[in-house]
């Protein structure tokens, strides 16, 4: 159902000259999910196999959970999307990047983490999903003054 809704939204969009308005696809159910499992279910992800071809470059310790820099990429052939899930966040699904012809499956971004947690990145290729995880420890910086 979800794929149909997004395809419909995309088709509608093509017809509109105006810049993106509220019709752009934003998977409310997936982003609103409170557990990683539910989030992935709403993204249509059924199973995912661990793969060393999914790379996460992130610090082991973050002095502050407000800005955690992560660099993610996939060497899995035919990767068309990268999904970022922060397991212990109130809403684990953080971002989904769809790469079309002309873009490499690579993104660097800063994310918020409420507490020490695993960051899970999934690569989508040929309708299958591959993942890697990386734990980031969030500590209290500063003088606590």
């Amino acid at each position: 159902m979800n794929r149909l809704r997004r395809a419909l939204a995309a088709a509608l969009l093509l017809g509109l000259a105006a810049p993106l308005r509220a019709l752009a696809a934003w998977n409310k159910d997936a982003f609103g999910a409170k557990t990683p499992g539910d989030a992935l279910k709403h993204l249509g992800v059924s199973g995912a196999t661990p793969s060393a071809d999914v790379h996460i470059d992130a610090p082991q310790i973050a002095e502050n959970g407000a800005v955690v820099p992560i660099e993610i990429s996939s060497a899995v052939a035919g990767t068309n999307a990268l999904i970022v899930v922060i397991e212990k966040n109130p809403f684990p699904l953080t971002a989904r990047f769809d790469f079309k012809e002309g873009a490499l499956p690579f993104v660097k971004l800063n994310v918020k983490m409420g507490e020490t947690s695993d960051v899970r990145v999934l690569a989508e290729a040929g309708g299958k999903h591959y993942f890697a995880t990386h734990e980031v420890k969030v500590t209290i910086g500063g003088c606590g003054g």
Binding site: P19, L20, A66, E71, G102, A103, L104, L109, V111
Partner: protein
């Protein structure tokens, strides 16, 4: 009126490195302002990256992306002068866009 955006697109080794900075509060709806009132959710939901008018990356992001987001992307190949456009749309329906040529 959204704050400024800034973007750089440089030819890298076999790819084009695009770095874009956006002014946006990315409010989670959980933060209290100076007088203790909850600040409502306000965050970018959609990102689009285009090269010479053709969409190459579409993203759906959440309030878990840090305030004043900074993204780096990599595009296949690319030539000097190619037009790169990055635009965003947030949950209030506000949008902003920036365009630059590959240096």
């Amino acid at each position: 009126m959204a704050g400024p955006m800034k973007m750089r697109a440089n030819l890298g080794a076999g790819f084009t490195d695009v770095r874009v900075l956006m002014t946006h509060p990315m409010e989670t709806g959980l933060r209290k302002d100076a007088d203790g009132k909850l600040v409502p959710m306000h965050f970018i939901q959609n990102l689009t990256v285009k090269v010479n008018g053709k969409t190459v990356i579409e993203a759906e992001i959440s309030q878990a992306v840090s305030r004043n987001p900074v993204f780096s992307f990599r595009l296949k190949g690319g030539a000097k002068g190619d037009k790169i456009e990055v635009s965003w749309l947030d949950n209030h329906g506000d949008t902003a866009a920036i365009e630059t040529a590959i240096a």
